[in-house]
């Protein structure tokens, strides 16, 4: 009896332990599940109102980008990790600490997996730069976030390097963000010249516009469809399909999307740009030996001459 009782007690204790462990494990799984199911981070950073240190025309841009942000988390892969509009839009969230100071992109923009930046743009030399809302104070006094180009790297003016912390996909809802004559430099923002060779982290794809882009209620569904389609076909296809427009503005202009990726070699570059979807992300490029890009031949926007392949 005693032994039986002892055995029963042992069995009960064991059963209790198993139940407890199962309960803890189940609770753990339940607690982890939402994050695991939507383990990737989508973020949006941009500006509606240029009414502070850096004055420009204001537009309700976020209403357009919201459609992307509100769609991308509907597919079980991404969660909304930050909607940053106007507040704190100096260069800090976008610039790399290896390039300038104070910069904090590692905990801000580059901490997301898929990120959309929206702001007025500019074709500056051979690179894109975005118009900020705040200048960062007297010590910084910078109303622009500058992508790199040859001759401006390693602290010589370039500020925006993506992918060396986490980001895979950078979408630039901004004029001149992928001008034809700047594409030979666009690949430079896909890595941090100092950190990427050490940690192996690099951006996979950047999407933008040759020349001017457009804002308005009639363009918002394009952003939703872009996010939606990019779970079924490549991000590149989705960007190219949904952002193309013709016959807009006083000169019957086009809106001209461009998608650009990098790879260790030609095959790697093509494989990435043709097949990466929001739900099919490859490992980071091991090196940048090639860049490749899709464009609309002869696309004729405001703010630029018709797209001419620079090669």
């Amino acid at each position: 009896m005693r032994n039986n009782k002892h055995n029963n007690n042992t069995l009960r204790a064991t059963a209790w332990m198993v139940c407890a462990l199962l309960t803890v494990a189940t609770a753990g799984i339940l607690a982890v599940s939402p994050a695991a199911a939507n383990h990737l981070e989508a973020k949006m950073y941009g500006i509606d109102n240029w009414d502070q240190d850096c004055l420009q025309n204001s537009l309700n841009w976020s209403a357009q980008v919201d459609r992307w942000y509100n769609e991308i988390d509907d597919h079980g892969w991404y969660h909304q990790d930050g909607r940053f509009v106007d507040t704190g839009m100096d260069r800090s969230p976008f610039c790399d600490p290896d390039a300038a100071s104070p910069c904090n992109d590692g905990w801000r923009m580059d901490e997301g997996d898929a990120v959309m930046i929206f702001m007025h743009g500019s074709d500056s030399g051979n690179h894109w730069r975005g118009a900020l809302r705040f200048d960062g104070g007297d010590a910084v006094n910078d109303c622009w976030i500058d992508a790199p180009e040859s001759g401006t790297e390693f602290g010589a003016g370039a500020e925006l390097y993506a992918g060396d912390m986490d980001m895979e996909y950078l979408h630039l809802s901004s004029c001149n963000s992928m001008d034809d004559d700047n594409l030979s430099n666009s690949w430079r923002m896909f890595r941090d010249p100092i950190d990427s060779p050490q940690n192996g982290r690099r951006l996979h794809q950047a999407d933008g516009f040759h020349g001017f882009m457009w804002i308005g209620s009639g363009f918002r569904a394009d952003y939703e469809d872009f996010a939606d389609d990019a779970f079924s076909v490549s991000i590149k296809d989705s960007w190219m399909d949904n952002m193309r427009r013709n016959n807009v503005g006083a000169n019957n202009d086009d809106q001209c999307p461009v998608a650009l990726a990098v790879g260790s070699d030609r095959a790697d570059c093509f494989n990435r740009i043709d097949n990466e979807r929001y739900n099919n992300t490859m490992s980071d490029p091991s090196a940048i030996g090639y860049y490749c890009y899709y464009y609309y031949d002869g696309c004729d926007p405001a703010g630029e001459t018709p797209f001419t392949d620079p090669n």
Binding site: N57, S124, E224, R266
Partner: protein, 368 residues
């Protein structure tokens, strides 16, 4: 000045004057000049009661809702047209809201949203009938730059393809505005980099990947804002991807021609409305080009001058894509800023579009 791509003279005569009045880019030194620019852009028929009466008197059209929901035979024929016979809706892939089941056992077409999938190819077809939206995506037809040959589909072949598809999906061919059709080639380039990061352009490659085609919608010669069919054609001449935004079209009730007269806004008021709406966001001197054209616009999108309707549309949860509801004739105003010199580093303002009423009482009631 770029070559104008639109040929105004080809439009239906009665509505020719409704379409575009293009103001050449010109510098603007003061706010009164914005008024001048706005006035100069107005189509000559703004404020014309007879014209407005004709615009609101047009017949409605069911859009894709009628042809694509609840009619399996029609859908099968349409899928054949895009070579997607294997698309099937699994149980549960068609969603009904349950409130609209009719007495005959069928579901009201407005409540249906179907997602079809082909298991082998991963192709998908999404139909949101109530919104008039249909999306077909076949990843196996997307261009693979490493292996696929150049796309040699001609413009005329692409135009024939999209026309055939449009008809197969039940669109009224008279509503396809071929004069504004867009046919463009998607190309892909690859460029090797030296170890020091110098592009070797001599070793670069360029391929023709796809042919993109899009045709906007018109009703009796007047454009329907946000409504179009677009397709990407692969190197075999197949539809790789297609987007249809073709909702039911009907002019909103309460806009009967007989009661319209007093509600037709005078051109001077419309001009002021343009200047107010644009001037709220564009500083004096920053508008370089302004185009105004009369289109049918979803009533929910029409702005009230002097308010930030964009925010309202956003807050309202997305009924701002021409997808549902009724239409009113309205003025579509598109604004561009100055074009900076190449490489100058000067700001480029994104182009902006505003949708303004031509009839009093057609503003979005939630607006402002």
């Amino acid at each position: 000045m770029k070559i104008t791509k639109r040929n105004i003279t080809g439009l239906v005569v009665m509505f020719a004057a409704l379409q575009l009045t293009i103001v050449p880019a010109q510098s603007q030194q003061s706010c009164p000049e914005l008024h001048e620019l706005a006035g100069g852009s107005l189509p000559s028929l703004v404020g014309d009661v007879d014209t407005m009466a004709a615009l609101v008197a047009v017949a409605g059209d069911p859009g894709i809702a009628a042809s694509m929901s609840g009619d399996k035979k029609a859908l099968k024929l349409a899928l054949n047209a895009i070579g997607a016979r294997s698309l099937k809706a699994s149980k549960g892939d068609c969603r009904f809201d349950g409130r609209r089941k009719r007495s005959d056992g069928r579901h009201d077409e407005e409540a249906v949203h179907c997602d079809y999938k082909a298991r082998k190819t991963g192709a998908t077809l999404s139909i949101k009938a109530a919104e008039g939206r249909l999306t077909f995506l076949d990843p196996t037809r997307s261009f693979q730059a490493q292996t696929d040959p150049d796309n040699e589909v001609t413009d005329s072949a692409a135009a024939e393809t999209i026309k055939a598809v449009a008809i197969a999906f039940g669109l009224d061919e008279k509503q396809l505005d071929y004069q504004l059709a867009d046919i463009a080639r998607v190309k892909v380039a690859s460029v090797p980099l030296s170890e020091s990061g110098i592009p070797d352009t001599d070793a670069a490659t360029v391929q023709v990947a796809e042919v993109y085609t899009a045709v906007p919608r018109q009703v009796q010669g007047v454009g329907v804002h946000g409504s179009r069919i677009q397709a990407s054609i692969d190197h075999r001449g197949q539809v790789a991807r297609m987007h249809l935004r073709w909702p039911e079209f009907r002019v909103c009730e309460g806009n009967e021609a007989s009661r319209l007269g007093p509600r037709v806004l005078d051109p001077s008021k419309v001009k002021i409305a343009i200047a107010e709406e644009v001037g709220e966001q564009w500083a004096c001197g920053t508008v370089a080009g302004l185009r105004s054209s009369i289109m049918y616009v979803p009533a929910s999108e029409v702005d009230s001058p002097g308010t930030d309707s964009d925010e309202t549309a956003n807050d309202s949860g997305g009924d701002d894509d021409g997808s549902a509801g009724c239409y009113v004739p309205a003025l579509v105003v598109q604004v561009t800023g100055p074009e900076p010199l190449e490489d100058s580093g000067e700001v480029s303002y994104a182009g902006a579009e505003y949708l303004l009423p031509l009839l009093a009482g057609n503003e979005d009631p939630d607006d402002g």
